[in-house]
């Protein structure tokens, strides 16, 4: 007997690491499906970072077991023991999971990821839990809401918690959950609250009234977010229009001609950015984040040089014939588009945002302000200020203004009008080049880039009048915001048409635009 007892003891100690201390993987492999579900639920309620690899393997269907119920994880076709150092006795067979278990694995995975370092992972996990949290996780969620530092993740967690509490038997807890939802201002909270208004879903009248007030609260917050969003995209569109139209307004004011190739200057600026990016990728990949800053002067000088060359060779010979200039510059634009198409291909080229221009800042649950658009608004304002300084505080600016107001008189006073024309044309084209750099950061860069902005920038010039920067600024932002406010109401196309109609009516009142230079000149 003692021998038998001894043997039994020995056997038990041998088995000890497998059963008593057996790890989660072994437990899971050995358990029946209903037991497995219970295990997963308990893991969800008490997450442990060490369990992550197991859950990942489960989620990807890589957990396997041999006939001795030893767990293995398949890695690249090889089976590695999940716990201890067993070599598989024979080829292990992968565990088969039913749909209910798969759902539970997702839940468990999400609650484990709540412990992750990166806020993005935690946010994704919280969003997942909004959909499939289990009542057992109430305590965990409560604790996480209290300790979460990231505001966005906390809102998501609050929602998940509220979702759980909404199905609680106790009306008081449901009431608290409804109040919580009301404070979040999240679009998801609105749909959740809307279902609660139905007496068939919610039998407690108090909770229903709370849902009503909560819904009003959420709707108000959402409305604020929407309005701010529209105002922001209007400002963003306005700043782009401003960059596109500023140069046009200067040359139109000075020479009285509309440069139809102005849109192509935008396009060339964007392609210059693309070239700079390529050079950085080739020769200085470590400093690639700085390429937009280098692209700015490059684009400015390239487009300014092309603009001055055009002025010298074509436009100069057409002074006094504005309509012919219109046609000639259209010809130039056709040639430039086709040239770019032959050199770079008809497809769009890829211009990537550097890290400091990608992503955005989340201001409200339904309002994200992308960094690139914020930077472009600031950039457009900088360009306006610089242009203003150039036109008002330098000799060149003085000459430009003199020629704009009265060409003949300026020439009499010794202003070299030819040179001023050339430099001003270069300046206008260069500003368009800067606009091209900005455009390359928010949209597609292709040969037709300029065509899509040219008509809008003409309208800015027509509306703003010439000779005054303020007119262009007001007109650009006005058009941008009007466009974005009308867009959700009546659609983008009808909005555009309505704005065109309004501009035609506006010109009835003020034929020279918003800000016209005073003068008594008549032909």
């Amino acid at each position: 007997m003692p021998t038998a007892l001894y043997r039994l003891f020995l056997l038990l100690t041998l088995l000890l690491p497998l059963t008593g201390h057996a790890g989660d993987a072994s437990d899971f492999v050995a358990a029946s499906p209903s037991k497995q579900a219970k295990l997963l639920e308990s893991w969800s309620a008490a997450p442990d970072a060490a369990r992550l690899p197991l859950l990942e393997a489960l989620q990807q269907g890589r957990l396997a077991a041999d006939s001795g119920k030893n767990p293995f994880i398949e890695v690249n076709g090889l089976y590695q023991s999940a716990e201890g150092e067993f070599a598989p006795a024979e080829a292990p067979r992968k565990l088969r999971l039913n749909n209910r278990l798969r759902g539970l694995i997702g839940t468990a995975m999400a609650s484990h990821q709540l412990l992750a370092e990166e806020p993005a992972l935690r946010l994704a996990a919280a969003r997942e839990l909004q959909k499939r949290a289990k009542p057992a996780q109430l305590g965990l969620l409560d604790a996480r809401v209290a300790s979460e530092t990231d505001a966005q993740v906390r809102t998501a967690l609050t929602l998940a918690l509220a979702n759980l509490q909404l199905v609680d038997r106790d009306p008081a807890i449901r009431l608290a959950a409804v109040r919580l939802l009301g404070e979040t201002g999240d679009p998801l909270a609105r749909t959740r609250l809307e279902t609660l208004l139905d007496p068939a879903v919610e039998d407690d009248a108090g909770v229903r009234t709370a849902a009503q007030t909560g819904l009003a609260q959420v709707k108000r917050k959402l409305l604020i977010g929407e309005l701010l969003g529209q105002a922001f995209s209007g400002l963003s569109l306005g700043s782009i229009l401003l960059l596109a139209a500023l140069g046009l307004a200067i040359t139109f004011g000075l020479l009285g001609v509309i440069n139809m190739a102005h849109g192509e200057m935008l396009m060339l600026g964007a392609y210059a950015t693309y070239m700079v990016q390529l050079l950085f990728q080739r020769f200085a990949p470590e400093a690639i984040a700085l390429y937009p800053l280098v692209a700015l002067p490059v684009a400015f000088f390239v487009t300014a040089a092309i603009g001055m060359a055009l002025e010298r060779t074509v436009i100069r010979h057409l002074y006094g014939r504005p309509l012919e200039t219109l046609l000639a510059t259209w010809g130039i634009s056709l040639i430039l588009i086709q040239l770019v198409r032959l050199l770079f291909g008809a497809q769009n080229v890829e211009v990537a945002n550097p890290y400091w221009l990608s992503g955005g800042v989340q201001v409200l649950p339904n309002l994200v302000l992308p960094y690139n658009r914020i930077v472009i608004i600031g950039f457009a304002l900088c360009v306006v200020v610089l242009t203003w300084l150039l036109l008002n505080k330098t000799r060149l600016g003085l000459n430009v203004r003199a020629v704009t107001q009265n060409r003949a008189m300026a020439a009499c006073c010794g202003v070299p009008t030819g040179r001023v024309d050339m430099l001003a044309f270069g300046l206008g084209s260069g500003i368009a080049g800067l606009g091209g750099v900005a455009l390359s950061q928010i949209g597609n860069v292709g040969p037709d880039l300029g065509q899509s902005y040219i008509i809008d920038s003409f309208l800015v010039v027509v509306l703003g009048g010439v000779g005054q920067l303020a007119g262009s600024v007001m007109a650009a932002f006005g058009l941008g915001i009007a466009n974005k406010i009308l867009e959700p109401q009546i659609g983008a196309v009808l909005g555009k048409i309505l704005i065109l109609g309004l501009i035609i009516l506006f010109i009835q009142k003020r034929p020279q635009g918003l800000f016209a230079l005073k003068g008594r000149v008549i032909d």
């Binding site: 074509v314 012919e324 010809g331 086709q338 003409f458 196309v493 065109l500 010109i507 009142k509």
Partner: protein, 359 residues
């Protein structure tokens, strides 16, 4: 430039030569559809492709003539004549779609799962009402736009840009499926016109003759207008509008009349273009098309009546040849044409011929 250039040319070259060349061209154009009626194995048979191509170019000639009336005579460069052309085309396309669909709805409406026709389609199965629409749609639009534009004395570059924005807006509008004109596919798949098979030789020939008749008619009208006092006032509007006003004239009425007339001519040209080409879609309204029409006029010589026809024929002939031979270089050629004509040929080909005549 106290009088229209065509008259000067006719005087210099001698009326006999000009008339002779004109009569020859006209005779060839009349012969084309008749030769098309010959059996296919005949040596003199003109293929349907050639006939359609020439018919298309004749439609463009009418557009060029219409544009020349406002640009060459009244000094208003319109970059939106494609809109009027397309509106006329769409009005005719509505009739043709109804004809093709029989009693049912046009095919594109069935795709959109519409069950009844929008109100503006009312009566379009009637050819006469469709013809009225061909005149009314571009005419009324031009009337309203022109009234406001001329009232506030928009001219020069401003006017060009507003017209360009107008055609651009029209294009965007017609691209929408909800507008009820077939979205970006437009209308196509026409089968019959007035009960005749639209692809039959006889129908093609008749459409060609109709186009030619319209062209000759508008040319005659143009000559009459240009020689009249009305034409002189228009030229004065172009050259010195303010002085004209000081003389006691009100230029608004003159400008509005010629502007609406030009739009209606364009609409008629579009209406003849659609059954010959067999398709109309919103890209006809794209600003590119309208501005191309301006180079036809500029190349031929604006302020003359024959010049634009010459220009439209030359540019479109070149285009047909280039897009087959060197498709990638057509835009270069067109761009160079824009620059070259404005820099070196301010009076167009007609101006060149006139110089030769003087030497």
């Amino acid at each position: 430039m106290n009088q229209p250039l065509a008259i000067t040319v006719a005087q210099k070259a001698g009326p006999k030569v000009t008339l002779g060349v004109g009569a020859l061209v006209l005779a060839v154009l009349i012969a084309l559809p008749l030769l098309h009626l010959l059996p296919a194995d005949n040596v003199l048979h003109v293929s349907a492709y050639t006939l359609t191509l020439v018919g298309k170019i004749l439609c463009y000639c009418i557009v060029a003539l219409a544009l020349d009336l406002v640009w060459g005579y009244a000094g208003l460069l319109s970059l939106g004549h494609g809109l009027f052309f397309a509106l006329g085309g769409y009005a005719m396309g509505m009739y043709l779609s109804r004809e093709a669909a029989g009693d049912g709805l046009p095919a594109f409406m069935s795709f959109l799962a519409w069950t009844e026709l929008p109100w503006y389609w009312y009566g379009t199965s009637n050819f006469l009402w469709a013809l009225c629409l061909v005149v009314l749609a571009p005419g009324l639009l031009a009337l309203v736009f022109g009234f406001f534009a001329f009232r506030s004395r928009i001219k020069g570059v401003y006017f060009s840009i507003m017209t360009q924005a107008l055609t651009f807006a029209g294009m965007l509008l017609f691209f929408r499926n909800e507008t009820g004109f077939g979205g970006n596919n437009g209308f196509t798949g026409f089968t019959r016109i007035l009960g005749f098979d639209i692809t039959a030789q006889g129908t093609r020939a008749a459409l060609f003759i109709a186009t030619l008749a319209l062209l000759v008619g508008s040319l005659y009208l143009g000559f009459k207008l240009a020689r009249s006092k009305f034409g002189r006032v228009l030229t004065a509007v172009r050259d010195a509008e303010n002085r004209l006003m000081f003389c006691g004239y009100d230029p608004r009425g003159y400008k509005l009349f010629i502007w609406v007339l030009s739009a209606v001519l364009c609409g008629l040209a579009g209406a003849l273009y659609v059954p010959q080409v067999g398709i109309i879609n919103p890209s006809e309204m794209s600003p590119t098309n309208s501005i191309e029409a301006a180079v036809w006029v500029a190349l031929g010589g604006r302020g003359t009546l024959i010049g634009p026809l010459l220009g439209a024929g030359l540019v479109n002939g070149m285009k047909s040849w280039f897009t087959v031979a060197f498709p990638e270089y057509w835009l270069f050629a067109l761009g160079a044409l824009f620059i070259g004509v404005t820099l070196y040929l301010p009076k167009g080909v007609i101006g060149l011929l006139r110089k030769r005549g003087e030497q």
